[in-house]
Symmetry: D2
Amino acid sequence: MTVRVLVWGENRHEQIDQHVRDLYPDGMHTTIAAGIAENLGDEARVSTTTLDEPEHGLTEQVLAGTDVLVWWGHAAHGEVADDVVDRVHRHVLSGLGLVVLHSGHWSKIFGRLMGTTCTLRWRSERDRELVWTVNPTHPIAQGVPHPIVIEQQEMYGEFFDIPAPDELIFLSTFSGGEVFRSGCTFRRGHGKIFFFSPGDQDYPVYHHRDVRRVIANGVRWAAGDRPRETPTLLRYESGDFFHGHGYTGPIDD
Amino acid sequence: MTVRVLVWGENRHEQIDQHVRDLYPDGMHTTIAAGIAENLGDEARVSTTTLDEPEHGLTEQVLAGTDVLVWWGHAAHGEVADDVVDRVHRHVLSGLGLVVLHSGHWSKIFGRLMGTTCTLRWRSERDRELVWTVNPTHPIAQGVPHPIVIEQQEMYGEFFDIPAPDELIFLSTFSGGEVFRSGCTFRRGHGKIFFFSPGDQDYPVYHHRDVRRVIANGVRWAAGDRPRETPTLLRYESGDFFHGHGYTGPIDD
Amino acid sequence: MTVRVLVWGENRHEQIDQHVRDLYPDGMHTTIAAGIAENLGDEARVSTTTLDEPEHGLTEQVLAGTDVLVWWGHAAHGEVADDVVDRVHRHVLSGLGLVVLHSGHWSKIFGRLMGTTCTLRWRSERDRELVWTVNPTHPIAQGVPHPIVIEQQEMYGEFFDIPAPDELIFLSTFSGGEVFRSGCTFRRGHGKIFFFSPGDQDYPVYHHRDVRRVIANGVRWAAGDRPRETPTLLRYESGDFFHGHGYTGPIDD
Amino acid sequence: MTVRVLVWGENRHEQIDQHVRDLYPDGMHTTIAAGIAENLGDEARVSTTTLDEPEHGLTEQVLAGTDVLVWWGHAAHGEVADDVVDRVHRHVLSGLGLVVLHSGHWSKIFGRLMGTTCTLRWRSERDRELVWTVNPTHPIAQGVPHPIVIEQQEMYGEFFDIPAPDELIFLSTFSGGEVFRSGCTFRRGHGKIFFFSPGDQDYPVYHHRDVRRVIANGVRWAAGDRPRETPTLLRYESGDFFHGHGYTGPIDD
């Protein structure tokens, strides 16, 4: 079954900063999408949308037709409308996979799902980032070297204010000696979430072969377990909200 | 150091339902507070407040003087003002302990911290609830029988839509054969959260010796680790948000 | 890629107890294997072996050609030779998937991997077991009702002395009101382990459609992430034990 | 209640290597013990023992009178007798706290409790180690800077082959860019285990103020929750092994 992937890009730096346009002439979202398509081939159908589309390109209809949403934002988190965030939140809890990249740590949707500030320390001074695998059998870690070497990247450092991840997959170190939980998974409701920190508008990280592989692995993982058979509830009598909230009679009446 | 405990009660059923008033003549919050005081003695100073107080009794000043907030609400979650929820949320992430009881699973503050729907299945038909310990060395489980027997109680059943708890302490079963993760801990930011499901307005559960002991244990646990010494950050140069978000220079300049 | 599954059966009750032979005329291992084959079809090639084979049927060559080992034992845990346990342990840590069923909780191999006593409470008096899903998007939970109803089964109750599972998938309740963490996953080294408690020699549980589905799901899950590409280690100079123990030079010389 | 702490030292390098004797003239165990005593004061009574004592100083009587055992070994793991390891294992599962330091990752007792190889990568070339806190409210992290700076230390790097820790508290980075999960907790049976990697015979790490503070915090944490009241089991009829393995009658007869 083909995974329907939607890459959401803020697409503002690309309009304003020549430096970013040089790195990502077709927009960061396009480069990210190309990396996923290159790795997943026929397994996925990848499309893109951006903040400036009506409803940020995230209508009810679009989300209903999406299996995994990939999110990159940075400068304009505040411009994402709250009702669109509500809608994406509802879809994630109902089974939409979500891959949050880099500065997406401070997006409204990630904060809504985590319940914490999602703050961290940072420094953009061309640190080398090394991405080490601490969960070597996890499907998201397949096919990449240990460590992944990113020659130049923004530093993201602990303390990263997130809930303890369900699974910790990657840890990054930086030239300055800092450390970061750079690859983490979370399950929320029916949805699976993968946060992966490498990637920034000021560095060509989304052209990096291994980073593209990890993001594609994350998409495949986030899509993987969406229930395709509805659980049968014995003698469930009323109410139906997500997993069946409400009054339930005894099962052995 | 004395733990400053504030029990927040919705206090509506007690005004309206004679049945509830019979069980809790001084209000549920008062009974809950008495159970904590009885178990913690000099270790705690326990006070109460309710929804109908100005700002629901949860002003900035009150919260700043509280170590652990205990929350019971049921019929009027929607009446809790969003800006008060914002304030409590900020305090929890900054280190306020939070003990959420029973129907508080659907309170705004719990949902905000969890990021999920927090829905569950229920049936109020005088089921017997058995509360089994699955983490016998945890401080919250000390001093109670295995199982705790609650002769009559509302049934709460899975699926309970919460993130995987950091620690699972109690599992409950009911006469109808249902199961529920009835004692769970979570860390969010600097705050510690304990959810404990036994307790309902229609049953005398907050008079139950073992239930009172667990709630008191939870209060002590949630208070326990609040940082009393501020971490020293080497060469941290700017920005300061919760744990120090913002630009940071290399530590070894 | 076909999953190579080996079902290991103790095969002693079937030789001694007419009651068990009536339920499982071809041996429990054969019934378990049939349930896996029926669910996975071409996806798996399923074979069986038993305790009384030379080296219990678990030679180095057999294990090297196996992706997932399914383990059922009960009365003769002590007869499993320690060097065979050492061998299976080494293979699991190197990537062999392991599905441990019911009384296998007290097998040497499970204890070796868990590091705890793996004790529990039990009572074989024809309790009804209900198996509830608490992780509804997990692949192991796909396609089964909520709850699974097993009309007659041995009771297994908490406290079950295992490490906190990496993932908790199923919780069971029994007629007597007991509760049990009946479906749990663990990662150890490169290996994935699924423990599933329903199933006993005295009840026809391995003929139960939903139980067979869960075991097959567990096999698929345990096979799923075995690394097929060896991680490249930059500038790794000496030693090689599992993931590369030993001296390592700086990566950026 | 005074915590009874026993520091176990291998005490071999100190006999053989002048360099180690210069750093730890009274033995490493004595220095480690002094650091604990200095931080816990009247809260603890700290003693020491070593490998060359009869039964390695770990008789049944000694263990029965100990609340927390601190373990440092390196060159002679193989000389620790298996029956003593069995005995320590049994005591940990019954509630003895255990703090495992540095090269103790490869001790028999740690391997027995983890079930994995506990291998890692290493390089002893005077790397600077930075120890970062990722769980800032945890009691083990109280009172230390972020990061702790250790000017010279052996490098320990991932992949560290342990089960996913129950709690991850510290992450270390090294001059070479490596990363290590350097502070982890585990619960096994009734026992609490803290692994902390800083510390080596070739560096004066156990004289470091912050390292001593962390080890003392770990001792306090590992002692903290030992059950002092035996759980009452309703209608439990036979068998008694650790937490009560064996046949149990229905609770509501």
